[in-house]
Symmetry: C2
Subunit: 339 residues, 2 copies
Amino acid sequence: MQLSKPYLLFLGDATSFLDCKTGAGLRDWCPFDVIGQHALPAGTVDLGIPALSLAESAARGARSLVIGVAPVGGAIPPGWWPTLFAALEAGLDIVSGMHMRLGEVPGLAPSAARLGRKLFDVRHADRRFAAGTGKKRMGRRVLTVGMDCAIGKKYTALALAKALTERGIEASFRATGQTGIMISGRGVAIDAVVADFIAGAAEWLSPDNKPDHWDVVEGQGSLFHPAYAGVTLGLVHGTQPDALVLCHDPRRQTIDDFPHCPLPTLEEAMRQYLTAAKVTNRHSRFIGVSLDTSRLADPERLELQSRLEAQLNLPVIDPMRDGAARLAAAIERDFPRAA
Amino acid sequence: MQLSKPYLLFLGDATSFLDCKTGAGLRDWCPFDVIGQHALPAGTVDLGIPALSLAESAARGARSLVIGVAPVGGAIPPGWWPTLFAALEAGLDIVSGMHMRLGEVPGLAPSAARLGRKLFDVRHADRRFAAGTGKKRMGRRVLTVGMDCAIGKKYTALALAKALTERGIEASFRATGQTGIMISGRGVAIDAVVADFIAGAAEWLSPDNKPDHWDVVEGQGSLFHPAYAGVTLGLVHGTQPDALVLCHDPRRQTIDDFPHCPLPTLEEAMRQYLTAAKVTNRHSRFIGVSLDTSRLADPERLELQSRLEAQLNLPVIDPMRDGAARLAAAIERDFPRAA
């Protein structure tokens, strides 16, 4: 899956900023790839970027219309369909992370074929993968793993890839979820592959590379999640991570929306992730912890971070506030370059 | 997926008994559901059951032609196609565990539709499942888990379901793989579902039941397998097993075909399976160990079993030699009936 940038973000008729989380993520993480936003007359959300017509965006070089809004249910409402056809006519590909496929919009696929445009359903994995091999690959890999879903694994990986690059270490962000794929323009929606091929898809995603190159792989789910842990484990095994970063939200005591599923301690979580990782990489180790402290004021936040640093003997950062320079430094210290 | 029995086993042009493992499993585990075998002229394998024409088998009540042979590659060779069409004409459904779908045989699906017959691809999961909930269900569940693939999980589950029934305990074998599905006539090919829904499919497979009813769930893969552990973990979480049986082949030191992946000790394996199981059932425990001792002579076998029993403080059986009565007894002792 290789998407064409730059993007025009489609916000539909959204009136809730939260529904436009995908669009906001793209604006924040690949601002130079986002030309503007486009909404229907009923839409009220403003991402603070230029509001452009389809023709204007095409004239400014846009290559894809990206659906940056996710209404509950995952369907593509009929009210959006005329915009999708018009986007194809304006010369744009369409990128969607909805459950409903673009090809299910009546007539859209034939239109795209006629116009030579492409439709990308990043939530679906149409490619077939081989089973995992467990064989060691060249290059280095770091994986963000979580206490739960939606706890900063993607943001941490993006921040770490950036921090490594800034430090002069070659690094590639490897996307495993739909927003990550839109940000980087490629990747695998790992939770959408057939169960037998989770690890194989993860191996494919972070292939052989130069000895000092780092793949920064976006984690998914959690080993402690009653619904999604299988995805997480296959991703850990296939990535064969040299380094792990544990992502946590200190407010969470249980899996989100699963009050009957308590979270383990951070130490126990790290122990279980390491046990899993060592099936395919016996030298795997944690190099840091990433917290979502967005609801904490500074004195409380700094106290928590320093307490956890002492307790775990690892750097503890919030990537949104601190960046990931300290994680990159830990990688540089713990994994000396061959050269 | 609900298959129609009894079966006629199709052995194609097989000349290797090993290729007919599926057919042999059906003959052994559901002999009353198997009417006979049917081979092409070039085929030389004999399962020791009546060789019948399609018409003869239909006259004796056969409802399905089951492909009981698996050539390397998983394709359905064109040499078999005339037999498949003839089976539909004779009034039989067709059941296949091949990678290639029956619907990919040109013209077969329209023929089936015209004749009112069904095509079942038990390796594929066309049904959609919900995500797992982690919520406790009524009834009891026991899951066979393995040190590796192909290590007796299906046979152990079948033997245990039989032994429980013989003891007067209501029990259902729940199939998660293709041969298991053919044996029981229903089930879910758990490794073929979309990764996000492994646990959800396992929950669906062993639904709410009477308080003293036992689902005996066929395990898949291994937590220590670099390719398939994600499937295993999702199955553990979704099953929420009250009881676990560890399956092992004492000759194996590494994952089969993965010499770079050593197996942990049995104690360590049990510890890791229990840690996983306790995410959704904190009372989960092991009730026995099942060994494949087919290559061991009796003195050596008995010595091994009694040594492991002392070491693990659990009954250790070989279901092919001993049956599973001692596992059923352990269940009856450890889980007193409500009535």
